[in-house]
């Protein structure tokens, strides 16, 4: 079986606009792969194609050898592909712990009747979920804010909660959509540490980011997108020193 998320020559069109053209990518377990590029370069489209929200016009996406094109997004989540949102989609009145508990959806085995009758199996499962939830919160340093409503937290912690919620399903692959946008340096550090821990556990991480600092710190392999095409790819050092990259991504002054 071919492990990993393997994207081969994927093209996505919206009407007459080609948002992504002939893009290939490979995320292996334990890998942190970065995708960067300016606004409108197709980062989000690539992200949505992998997570099943957008259907490619051509090309192939395989997850651990299984064809992922046309599979409903919630099924992909159940198969071990978790994602976060660029703008965390949160209910501001929900406390942190309750929000993370929502991430255990794929772990829930209780029948509707079992839940309604509050059977022993349901009680056991609920206790397990709460214990795992606490473990995740401890790991990400969220335990002190467990009861705080999301609406009262700084953005950095809201993003951490989003990562925690994705971790709850114990994914094999995690897609992160610009997780560092709007975070302070300290918050970025915390996030980076959390992502590293996950990868060390065997999770394959696809990091779509604007912030090259974070990508450079975390990723071995980077793909640079520009206008829907792969401009460059390779390890961080090579990409960073590439004049074409400096020109298009950081602007000519940097070069």
């Amino acid at each position: 079986m071919n492990r990993g998320i393997v994207v081969s020559s994927v093209t996505v069109r919206f009407g007459g606009v080609t948002a992504l053209s002939d893009v290939s990518l490979n995320v292996q377990p334990r890998d942190i792969v970065g995708v960067i590029g300016p606004n409108g370069s197709g980062k989000s489209t690539l992200f949505n194609a992998v997570s099943g929200l957008v259907r490619p016009a051509s090309g192939e996406i395989r997850i651990d050898g299984q064809d992922a094109v046309g599979v409903p997004p919630e099924t992909l989540v159940r198969q071990g592909l978790a994602r976060t949102f660029q703008t965390p989609r949160v209910d501001p009145v929900l406390p942190v712990e309750a929000a993370i508990l929502c991430g255990f959806q794929t772990k829930a085995r209780q029948s509707l009747l079992g839940a309604m009758l509050h059977l022993p199996g349901q009680r056991r499962e609920e206790a397990q979920m709460r214990a795992s939830c606490r473990a995740i919160m401890e790991r990400l340093g969220l335990i002190e804010v467990a009861d705080v409503p999301l609406g009262e937290l700084p953005m950095g912690q809201v993003r951490l909660v989003d990562v925690a919620r994705a971790m709850a399903s114990e994914p094999r692959y995690l897609l992160l959509d610009e997780p560092a946008a709007g975070l302070s340096l300290l918050e970025q550090r915390r996030l980076a540490a959390a992502i590293r821990l996950l990868a060390a556990d065997g999770v394959g991480v696809l990091l779509v980011e604007h912030n090259f600092g974070l990508v450079g710190e975390l990723c071995r392999h980077v793909t640079v997108l520009d206008r829907g095409k792969v401009l460059l790819e390779g390890d961080v050092a090579t990409v960073r020193s590439n004049p074409v990259f400096l020109q298009t991504y950081l602007g000519s002054h940097a070069a």
């Binding site: 989000s44 997570s51 409903p72 997004p73 919630e74 989540v77 159940r78 978790a82 994602r83 949102f85 660029q86 703008t87 965390p88 989609r89 949160v90 209910d91 501001p92 009145v93 929900l94 406390p95 309750a98 508990l101 929502c102 991430g103 255990f104 959806q105 794929t106 772990k107 829930a108 209780q110 509707l112 839940a115 309604m116 009758l117 509050h118 349901q122 499962e125 609920e126 979920m129 009861d147 705080v148 409503p149 999301l150 609406g151 009262e152 937290l153 700084p154 953005m155 809201v158 919620r165 994705a166 399903s169 959509d177």
Partner: protein
């Protein structure tokens, strides 16, 4: 959370009220009606308050429950306790395919679709000939048991409310409940949690229809006479009002709403002015307590000391698409 104790709260209050009322027929009638309305409003609570599906067909589902038991008991002499599962399951089974059809619709269109469905049910009941009794309706529906009195029936009705609240509160306190709430707040978010949104919404709609069917079953055996407009669209709207006034998102909100609005109804003068008072009650509640009378019980705010470095809720653009 206090919501876990919802069923116990209803049980205690219902028993206290029953003791207080003794055998006063007028009070018992009101109390029983409140119980039946509570079930109907609870069905709005789960479908609208929890899953965000605004259905104007809850009355129609109750009608199905009432006619199912009415026809089976009055025409075929079957015991009311044997028809109870039929009254609950028939509306639920009709609701399931309907929900599959309508749940992808936008909220307003969905509400209109359920309104149309309710109208169709009413027309079918009117045109049902000998089976449904047409315009005149169905009479001679037997009581639940021979020795049925207003006192025992009131207790049975409230027992049904307690059971429904118990099942409902347990459901909302489980992973199912969390998924249902996520779907209401943000279906995209629910998908990312691994939830099949259409299937879950259909399931909740089905559960709500079953609850409404139970209300219909009770009402048929209380009145012994049913007609097509007994659970017409005004009744469905009334149930929505009760749920919203009491707090549709809170387990006991619909019950509280049923109690408050029923008292309004009892003590207010004249048929014509009732609509006005109802409307006023709705507007007043929504201004004073936007999430209903019991809305304050949902999530308690933390003391300000813990909110160090917090940003306001408005700074989290939760509903902006990514």
């Amino acid at each position: 959370m206090i919501e876990k104790w919802s069923a116990l709260i209803v049980l205690v209050l219902a028993v206290l009220a029953a003791i207080g009322m003794g055998s006063n027929a007028a009070w018992l009638g009101t109390s029983t009606l409140i119980a039946i309305y509570s079930l109907l409003a609870l069905s709005v609570g789960i479908t609208y308050g929890q899953a965000g599906i605004l259905s104007v067909a809850q009355g129609a589902f109750a009608s199905m429950g009432a006619y199912a038991t009415g026809i089976l008991t009055a025409r075929y002499g079957i015991s009311p306790f044997l028809t109870l599962p039929v009254s609950v399951l028939l509306p639920a089974l009709v609701a399931l395919p309907l929900a599959r059809l309508v749940s992808p619709l936008s909220p307003l269109v969905l509400a209109i679709a359920t309104l149309m469905f309710a109208t169709i049910v009413e027309i079918l009941l009117r045109g049902g000939g000998d089976l449904t009794g047409g315009y005149i309706g169905l009479s001679g529906i037997p009581p639940l048991f021979d020795a049925q009195t207003p006192v025992t029936f009131n207790l049975i009705a409230w027992f049904a409310v307690v059971v429904v609240v118990f099942l409902y509160a347990n459901l909302m306190n489980s992973a199912w409940g969390r998924a249902i709430n996520t779907v209401r707040h943000d279906p995209m978010r629910a998908v990312a949690d691994g939830t099949n949104v259409t299937r879950l919404q259909s399931l909740v709609f089905t559960l709500g229809a079953g609850m409404a069917g139970l209300a219909g079953w009770l009402y048929a055996h209380q009145l012994s006479f049913i007609s097509p407009d007994l659970f017409g669209i005004p009744v469905s709207i009334n149930a929505i009002l009760m749920a919203v006034v009491g707090g549709a998102g809170v387990i006991l909100g619909p019950v509280a709403g049923a109690v408050v609005l029923s008292f309004f109804y009892e003590f207010l003068p004249g048929q014509e002015s009732r609509g006005m008072f109802y409307g006023a009650a709705l507007i007043l509640t929504l201004v004073v307590a936007p999430s209903g009378l019991l809305g304050f019980t949902r999530f308690r705010r933390r003391s300000p000391a813990v909110r160090r470095g917090a940003v306001s809720a408005g700074a989290v653009p939760g509903k902006v698409a990514s």
